[in-house]
Symmetry: C2
Subunit: 227 residues, 2 copies
């Protein structure tokens, strides 16, 4: 199911696709919420089920093999991760997070978590807290110029995180060889920190090879310059 | 949105509700998957969107305020957490996990993660890995006889976790005062460990008060016995 793909669509085509899929996915997100919270009678549930099943059957008539994957861009711009569990424009499970970054190792996101993300009554599931932190820390690290796969992630829960509007912030703390340390936290709209995180992100092998390749290329260039 | 409620339904009523809501929620889970993977044309997407919006409108005609919460049982049996982000029978975001335990501090679950849980191409999102571990560790701790809120959770990622069939195992490692240490791991069907976890779970204040109340009651009883 591994789908590393090169992006073939133009910016305009991507914008058109986003305009089509974003509102559709948003409708399915609303359905997820309503599925948990509805109190209509049994007959209404059964008819809704039959209709949903019919929609699924039509959507599946033509569908990709396996998961969405990530479409990487040849021009080095950020790849399309529309299936991503946290940020995916086409994934109804994703809140979705719109993660911003300053490109210098800071990243942040303001988002809303409703009924679908509940753990203890009225509170965000502790694992969902770690899911959001993992994404934003990873974003801070990867947009700082060095991609990283999560090696270790530690979450310290200070207090329950209430469902509703929240903010997640993350930043690069330090670097050492192939490791980058990221830190982050989740805050309520009152500015109360509910959870903190520290993660170690490891530079993937392909990026290390790329580093070596670049170093070799630079060394070769300098050699030619010297001649 | 905090909903600590006492369960009023009988076992038979709960079974009837489960028979109604489980297949409906399953249909919405399939729709979540199809929303990510469909490749039907734009008109079909737009008509599916309109139909989903109409279903949502009908379901919302009568719905609970806020999130589902947890319905606790007066008889001490496990409460109904049908809205839970990982285990919830009525939550389309939940795979859902059916977590088993031996009541002695071991818990485990076999489950399937499809396209909706993707992070890197073909792999489970690192934060989803921590979400599953948080739930199963918490389950091991709480079914061992001492409820616990997650205090700290550390995940060590050994390798990418492939989308598909997976197993999560957790166990109570040790106890000290109000703290319980839980450990756990995620495995592929080949038995390869992809991630490991350690968590510290804190006995909530209400349970400590209950402990003190019990101790006081026992002391009072012994005092009466002595008289």
């Amino acid at each position: 199911m591994s789908r590393f793909e090169i992006e073939h669509a133009t910016d305009e085509e991507i914008a058109q696709e986003a305009a089509l899929y974003a509102p559709f996915t948003e409708a399915v997100r609303a359905l997820v919420d309503a599925t948990i919270r509805t109190e209509v009678d049994a007959d209404e549930i059964r008819s809704a089920q039959a209709e949903v099943e019919a929609i699924v059957e039509r959507l599946r008539k033509q569908q990709m093999e396996g998961a969405y994957g990530v479409r990487f861009r040849a021009d080095g711009k950020r790849g399309r991760n529309w299936g991503n569990a946290v940020m995916g424009l086409r994934n109804p499970i994703a809140p979705p997070l719109d993660v911003r970054s300053d490109g210098q190792g800071k990243a942040w996101s303001d988002f809303h978590l409703g009924a679908a993300y509940e753990g203890p009554p009225g509170l965000v599931h502790g694992g969902v807290v770690s899911l959001m932190l993992d994404q934003v820390l990873g974003h801070a690290v990867s947009t700082s110029g060095r991609p990283g796969m999560t090696g270790t992630l530690t979450i310290v829960y200070r207090q329950g995180t209430p469902l509703g509007d929240l903010r997640c912030e993350a930043w690069v703390d330090r670097r050492e060889g192939i490791k980058t340390w990221g830190k982050g936290r989740i805050l309520t709209t009152d500015g109360e920190v509910t959870a903190e995180a520290e993660g170690v992100f490891i530079l993937p092998k392909w990026a290390r090879d790329l580093d070596r390749f670049r170093a070799a290329a630079e060394a070769t260039e300098s050699a030619f310059e010297l001649e």
